[in-house]
């Protein structure tokens, strides 16, 4: 019973973090129509940057600024140099992001080294919760993730850029006719997507390992959240991420973690085939 509670809570909190990363993927997939196979590696870069910041400045908290910022800049650069020239030919962009993924993984392996590292949580200690001793940092991580999620949705609905993004997503031609600079919106979207994943990396770094292969597991999960939540349905994506991770945590208490992963994948296939608009249609605005 304790194990179930622990895994369920871990799943829930991990789901909040994944929601953040998955939203980054959702806006890239939703707006630019790109299947970003490098998105897991964006997260991984976030964890690595966190470790690097910690190593060089001794402060974990600084990473909250450094990682997303660098992620943003990298994202903008990548869009300019790689994505834009391809003019969104769907198949080619998949290949490009696959190549990007290889570059990021090997690049990190070269500079950071192949051995996984761990980061100690900046907040130590446990708290008695529902009869178990729960890690304080994880609770903190949950709070950060929730704040970031709320902040993102506020951004989307109350800032000019956010509105532009929604307009271009909804009807690109009309948006352009109304004077919205579509290419710039695309670039900023890609950059924000990277930044979100990197932010997720910062939050997650103390509770997972920092490793050049850290993105490999995250990628399918993000795609699951986006597909099950529904393409273009951002709240749905976030909800799906949280729900899926929570369910996986629950399943893990009685079965092999791989079984949990397989069942999520099967669910995702079912959604793709039967209800491609996602399970949470009602939440769409």
């Amino acid at each position: 019973m304790e194990k179930l509670l622990l895994l369920a809570m871990n799943g829930l909190i991990w789901g909040l973090i994944i929601a953040l990363i998955a939203l980054g993927l959702a806006i890239i997939f939703g707006l630019l129509d790109i299947i970003n196979l490098a998105h897991g590696d964006f997260f991984m870069v976030g964890t690595v940057l966190t470790w690097a910041t910690l190593q060089s400045t001794g402060s974990f908290w600084l990473a909250f600024i450094v990682a997303p910022l660098i992620g943003f800049i990298l994202g903008a650069l990548i869009h300019r140099t790689v994505i834009q020239p391809i003019h969104n030919v769907a198949a080619l962009s998949i290949v490009a992001t696959f190549g990007l993924s290889l570059i990021l993984e090997e690049g990190v392996r070269i500079t950071f080294g192949p051995t996984p590292r761990r980061i100690l949580p900046p907040i130590q200690g446990t708290v008695a919760l529902f009869g178990i001793d729960y890690e304080l940092y994880r609770l903190f991580a949950a709070v950060v993730a929730i704040v970031a999620l709320v902040g993102f949705f506020l951004f989307l609905h109350h800032t000019q850029l956010g509105t532009w993004m929604r307009a271009v997503r909804h009807d690109r031609d009309t948006a352009v006719a109304m004077g919205i600079p579509a290419q710039r919106v695309y670039m900023l979207t890609f950059a924000i997507g990277f930044a979100l994943a990197a932010l997720g990396g910062v939050v997650a770094a103390p509770i997972t390992t920092v490793d050049f292969r850290g993105g490999v597991d995250i990628l399918p999960f993000c795609f699951m959240a986006v597909i099950i939540g529904g393409l273009g349905n951002l709240p749905g994506t976030a909800a799906a991420a949280i729900l899926l991770s929570f369910l996986e945590g629950v399943i893990q208490s009685v079965a092999n973690p791989t079984v949990a992963r397989i069942s999520s994948l099967v669910l995702m296939s079912a959604v793709l085939l039967l209800r491609p608009q996602g399970l949470f249609k009602g939440l769409t605005r």
Partner: protein, 319 residues
């Protein structure tokens, strides 16, 4: 030009012969991606699944069922095709992004299944097995321990598969697939059953990937779940596109480039994946038609220029 591969073992040393054998096997795999993407317009990111079934069909057939060469080979290929049929029935209902995603997802599901069912598949570590040393086909008996013989067998099999592909492309079915690739709505309006034809192509691609996997197992005497991971599928996509999507020899060219580079680079530097990534991006931006595609384009332009020149000179002599 075609005779070159047949004379190779006589010319160069054993190491490069086995590299070329490897190239042949992997280019068959890349060809399965190319068949779907270049000729039908479907980008599959999960061909490693059928490669894996071909591979494990042989491995499990020999080590668990005690099959001999041909039955094991047949089992591998049949398993791959069956899998392609089953997954294809669902996958082919989708197009574009969703097709790519679902092929990826299907291959991930089976990758995880293979990984966890170590009793059957050996997981990541894989299965090692030994082959019966001789086999016969018609009057020819050969020893599979002989590298040269292995090479010729692989060469013969891969060549036959490519020849089959060539026949397919020139056939009515091939043209129908090209039409579907170009404009699937129009294709259905002229009476083509788009779903069925795509499914047929998918199973054929599964066949090619399965043969490649079976060959791989037979000649490495090894099978491992790592070869079912999506990175393997993704690399094949890169090879196919760099070589030239929609061309017959594109997969061979693309695979050769990458494997040769890998062999050369990895003796000095272990990070050749970086090069793969960079080349993939460069090709996609600057040369999306791939090597063979560009070559064909260059040939066409040359032909046009010759045409125009000869017309001009005709006009001059006949004012």
């Amino acid at each position: 030009m075609i005779s070159v591969p047949w004379s190779i073992p006589a010319l160069i040393n054993g190491f490069w012969v086995s590299v070329i054998a490897e190239i042949l096997i992997w280019s068959l795999f890349a060809a399965s991606v190319n068949l779907l993407f270049g000729y039908v317009g479907l980008l599959s990111f999960g061909q490693a699944l059928y490669f894996g079934f071909g591979m494990y069909g042989v491995a499990i057939g020999i080590s668990d069922f005690g099959l001999s060469f041909w039955p094991a080979f047949g089992l591998g290929v049949a398993a791959a095709m069956a899998m392609a049929l089953i997954t294809g029935i669902f996958a082919v209902r989708l197009t574009w992004h969703y097709f790519a995603i679902i092929t990826l997802v299907f291959s991930l599901i089976f990758y995880f299944l293979a990984l966890t069912n170590k009793w059957l598949t050996g997981g990541d570590d894989g299965i090692n097995f030994t082959l019966p040393p001789t086999f016969s086909l018609g009057g020819i008996t050969g020893s599979l321990a002989d590298h040269t013989f292995q090479y010729f067998f692989i060469l013969a099999t891969v060549s036959m598969c490519f020849w089959l592909m060539h026949r397919l492309i020139c056939s009515p079915l091939g043209k129908a697939l090209l039409a579907i690739r170009d404009n699937d709505v129009r294709a259905s309006l002229i009476g083509l059953n788009v779903y069925l034809l795509r499914l047929v192509a998918f199973v054929m691609a599964g066949f090619l990937a399965g043969v490649a996997g079976a060959l791989f197992a037979l000649f490495g005497r090894y099978a491992s779940a790592t070869y079912m991971f999506y990175h393997v599928s993704g690399e094949a996509v890169v090879w196919a596109i760099v070589g030239g999507a929609g061309t017959l020899f594109g997969p061979i060219v693309g695979t050769t480039i990458f494997i040769v580079v890998r062999e050369i680079v990895s003796s000095h530097w272990e990070h050749h994946s970086l090069i793969v990534g960079v080349v993939a991006i460069l090709v996609v931006i600057f040369a999306p038609k791939g090597v063979v595609g560009l070559w064909n384009e260059w040939l066409t332009r040359l032909a046009e220029r010759i045409d125009r020149a000869s017309i001009k000179s005709e006009l001059r002599t006949n004012p």
